[in-house]
């Protein structure tokens, strides 16, 4: 009997380890031989822990599992109280186009055989037969843009590094996924780590880099462990090392752990942190592509950007580019979070409207109350009201509405939310996490909290001051922390102005 139960952090946080222990205990007591595979999550977080039993008809899903539901896994499965039917037939799974996440939740994350059996390493095999310039062109032609949030064309970055001349170059994977509502990087690393390794290796071949680093935030203990194990296995099996797959040039990867600084998700402060320094932002130029880690040409890409490279090489740039809308090509793993009925990861081509994502896929709020606002793109993203729910999900489309898609995380809020409080939180967060380099960010965020407190006390003269401060932060900060904190603040003020007036009204 083969049972799948996720090792994914969300599943574990909801009791998966206890369910796993109970499955083993029941199997022993009944004398049944059970192979328990700890897989990645299928992304349906509201059904976690989600157990799957392999049958001749396919994998059957059961969830959310409690300890009381374990014994019935060993009986008539059709009578199981948490039976959901075949996993692949669930509406959440059928509506998706899983390219980057094709194997997540399906395979044993640490089985290289399983990985190969599901198309793994085919992209790398193809890349090994190509010239670096052709590899870079493949990525450029796919239309892939940086999934970390900036949306910079990945192929252009690679081209700069590839053509730079240096004795040493580096591939750095930014796995410092600090934005609230985002967990795609974590799920990918926990559920299919070899895909990231393969993507980084292709990047190494294309750019002439022999060393790679994955900088993972310390808040992700499971992802750190899985990535460390996967790198060791990849080295033992000859995927990584002095000759990639036994015939290519050298490439190896080291896992590095962050230390709780949000700003290190910004590429230049990440590089400083990787060098063992304070995670202070660097001015650009010089571009990291020319002078990055230790002053050498460095590719810094997000986990999802790099993990999408293998499928682009396996299926071809044209295949990938055929998905999406406008200049947003391919698929995007949406992370639907916060106060939402059906939260989780949903990979789909760009172009769904915000309303379709929140109301149809997410099923509205978990509290059952009306949706008031959706913050898209993490703590530096704008709050969208219902009146903007027709906005299609794409880089330019969201920018056109004074927002951003960022790393594609969405936090849903119901009508009990005080948007002045959320604006204040954005400023407070910026004040706590500012690296201190730019004055508008370091001091502006502190003044922002004070100014919003004045507005809360009914001082409407403070509102123009807040708008002015936001403009200063936006144009006077080196990186997105100070530069984008005005997005949540200004969107709250613009779309939910009533929340900034309530004290005054109460006084009248």
């Amino acid at each position: 009997m083969k049972i799948y139960l996720p090792l994914d952090s969300a599943a574990v946080a909801l009791g998966a380890d206890e369910i796993a222990a109970a499955i083993h205990a029941h199997a022993r007591a009944r004398g049944v031989h059970v192979t328990l595979v700890r897989n990645g999550s299928r992304g349906m977080v509201w059904l976690e822990p989600l157990a799957e039993v392999e049958t001749p008809e396919g994998r059957l899903a059961f969830g959310p599992m409690t300890l009381a539901d374990v014994p019935a896994l060993f009986g008539d499965l059709s009578q199981h109280p948490k039976a959901l039917g075949k996993t692949e037939d669930l509406p959440w799974m059928k509506g998706q186009t899983r390219l980057t996440f094709a194997r997540v939740g399906v395979i044993d994350p640490l089985s290289l055989d399983d990985y190969r059996a599901h198309g793994g390493l085919k992209g790398l095999e193809r890349a090994l037969a190509m010239e670096p310039a052709a590899m870079v062109a493949e990525v450029t032609d796919s239309g892939l843009r940086g999934r970390g949030g900036a949306g910079f064309p990945t192929g252009i970055k690679w081209k700069t590094v590839s053509e730079a001349r240096a004795d040493q170059k580096y591939i750095v994977c930014n796995a410092d996924e600090g934005d609230s509502a985002t967990f795609a990087d974590r799920m990918l690393m926990e559920g299919d780590p070899f895909t990231l390794i393969e993507g980084m290796t292709i990047a190494g071949l294309a750019c002439g880099a022999t060393r790679g680093f994955v900088y993972i935030r310390s808040e992700y203990p499971v992802a750190i462990r899985v990535m460390q194990d996967a790198c060791r296995i990849a080295r033992e099996e000859g995927v990584l090392g002095t000759r990639v797959l036994g015939r290519g040039p050298a490439f190896d990867i080291e896992i590095r752990v962050g230390a709780g600084a949000y700003v290190c998700g910004e590429e230049t402060s990440l590089l400083n942190s990787l060098e063992g320094k304070r995670g202070v932002v660097r001015a650009k130029p010089p571009l990291p592509a020319l002078q990055g880690f230790l002053g050498k040409p460095t590719v810094v890409n997000n986990v999802i950007s790099l993990a999408t490279v293998p499928v682009i090489f396996e299926r071809g740039a044209a295949f990938y580019k055929a998905f999406g809308l406008g200049r947003s090509r391919g698929t995007i793993p949406l992370q639907i979070a916060g106060n939402v009925r059906h939260g989780g990861l949903y990979e789909v081509a760009f172009g769904l409207t915000l309303g379709e994502i929140v109301d149809t896929i997410g099923g509205g709020t978990a509290s059952g109350r009306p949706v008031k606002a959706v913050q898209v793109g993490g703590p530096l993203g704008a709050y969208f009201p219902r009146s903007l729910f027709d906005t299609p999900f794409g880089y330019e489309e969201f920018a056109g509405k004074d927002g951003l898609i960022g790393h594609a995380g969405l936090s849903v809020f119901d009508d009990t939310t005080d948007m002045l409080d959320m604006a204040r939180f954005a400023m407070e967060f910026c004040a706590i996490e500012s690296c201190g380099k730019c004055t508008p960010c370091r001091i502006g965020a502190v003044r922002g909290v004070e100014t919003i407190d004045r507005i809360a006390r009914g001082d409407i003269a403070a509102t123009p001051l807040l708008i002015d401060l936001c403009n200063t932060m936006k144009s006077g900060s080196l990186c997105a922390l100070g530069g984008f904190t005005p997005y949540p603040v200004m969107s709250a003020l613009t779309h939910f102005g009533d929340d900034f007036l309530y004290e005054k009204e109460a006084a009248e």
Partner: protein, 155 residues
């Protein structure tokens, strides 16, 4: 109090393990904190000497990152997520409850040294918040009753 000779010796062993590594300071500090539970003051000059840095530079790095402690924490560490997705499902309410119950604010330790309460900005459990990390154990959908049971269970 930690014996400073013992600290020096242990830190030198850790430094030796990371010799030649590019940009090794963060991995070194993580190892020191894993061994001592914090980064002792006495470790700073040893690290500075080992990496050919000034003591101020090492101090600057230690103080920059939220993870590194300069004093030991309580016997147990409870981290509550304060970020937006968790706020949308009641993280602030849960935090107020825990603070009242323990009689401490964030970054403080109970008088008996049993529990240190800390904020964290995102554990990547944004679809099953409010989220907590209790002595390294991930907990989702935390409410008042759940956190009470957890705190109760800490010896």
């Amino acid at each position: 109090m930690l014996d400073s000779d013992a600290v020096t010796q242990q830190v030198e062993e850790i430094l030796a393990r990371h010799k030649g590594r590019e940009g090794a300071l963060l991995p070194i500090l993580h190892d020191i904190q894993a061994d001592f539970g914090h980064v002792p003051e006495a470790a700073l000059p040893v690290i500075a000497r080992g990496l050919n840095l000034s003591r101020a530079e090492v101090h600057g790095v230690v103080s920059f990152y939220h993870d590194f402690r300069t004093r030991p924490a309580g016997a147990h560490v409870v981290k509550l997520c304060r970020a937006e997705a968790c706020k949308s499902v009641g993280a602030d309410r849960v935090a107020r409850h825990v603070k009242t119950r323990l009689g401490v604010d964030f970054h403080e330790t109970t008088a008996d040294g049993r529990v240190t309460l800390e904020p964290v900005f995102c554990l990547g459990l944004c679809a099953c918040g409010p989220a907590a990390l209790v002595d390294g154990r991930l907990v989702g959908r935390v409410d008042e009753a759940r956190i009470d049971a957890i705190v109760e269970g800490l010896e």
